[in-house]
């Protein structure tokens, strides 16, 4: 059953693959997993970690709404969206999106739409801690430097 929510720990992707294999008997032939990772280099500056926060319960409500709405299309069996909050180091996962569908065409086109919605809609915030200071990231990759106050 489709769902989306904020999480604090990593997801066991092997368990997800195992769970989603149940859809094969109903005609699902494709499972697509997207994992967002923390980048270690931005604007030629070394990034140490990202600090994510969220306005709950509304952030989870919106993630869930995206998963449920986008799974209504024909050819889509199940969508799960899990977004981590807290401190996330370089190379660690921040976002998991799992889509089960009838064919590769169904899940690949759907994934692109879901990722874009997750970037824009839920009340999730990101502080980038890097070698030249701390930057709040907002909108489509815009940044402003965190000032000591």
């Amino acid at each position: 059953m489709s769902e989306g929510r904020i999480i604090e720990n990593d997801l066991d992707l092997n368990a997800v693959v195992k769970e989603f294999s149940k859809y094969s008997k109903d005609g699902s032939g494709a499972l697509l997993i997207f994992v967002g990772l923390v980048k270690g280099l931005v604007d030629d500056k070394k990034v140490y970690e990202l600090e994510y926060s969220a306005y709950e319960p509304y952030a989870s409500e919106i993630l869930n709404k995206i998963a449920v709405e986008e799974s209504r299309d024909e050819g889509i069996y199940d969508i799960r969206i899990y977004h981590k909050i807290g401190s996330v180091k370089v190379g660690e996962p921040t976002l998991y999106i799992i889509i089960s569908g009838g064919s590769r065409h169904d899940v690949i086109s759907k994934m692109s739409k879901v990722v874009e919605r997750v970037k824009k809609e839920p009340y999730i915030f990101k502080l980038e801690k890097r070698e030249d200071g701390e930057y709040w990231v907002y909108g489509d990759g815009r940044r402003f430097r965190r000032e000591k106050r």
């Binding site: 306005y55 907002y138 909108g139």
Partner: protein, 84 residues
């Protein structure tokens, strides 16, 4: 009446607090009137509002300016979202 106010992420850098409660004399206020009180109490809000577009929610939704705010309602000031 009492309203619960949160300043999320970058906004809290400019208010110095993450959450607070505002006590008001009357039983009912419009959303815009309450915002005037909050901005007066936390002048740093104007500073960050000049820097980035701030989202202001009432009980998790975007209200109309003349929406009535009631005892126990939750107001939140948020920076633009940044998921992923």
């Amino acid at each position: 009446m009492k309203v619960h106010v949160k300043f999320l992420a970058a906004v809290s850098d400019y208010t110095g607090v993450y959450k607070t409660e505002i006590e008001l004399d009357e039983e009912e206020y419009t959303f815009n009137k309450i915002l005037d009180f909050i901005r007066e109490k936390y002048p740093g809000l104007k500073e960050i509002e000049a820097k980035i577009p701030i989202i202001i929610l009432l009980n998790g939704r975007k209200p109309k300016p003349d929406t009535r705010v009631q005892d126990g309602d939750k107001i939140a000031f948020l920076p633009p979202t940044s998921g992923g």
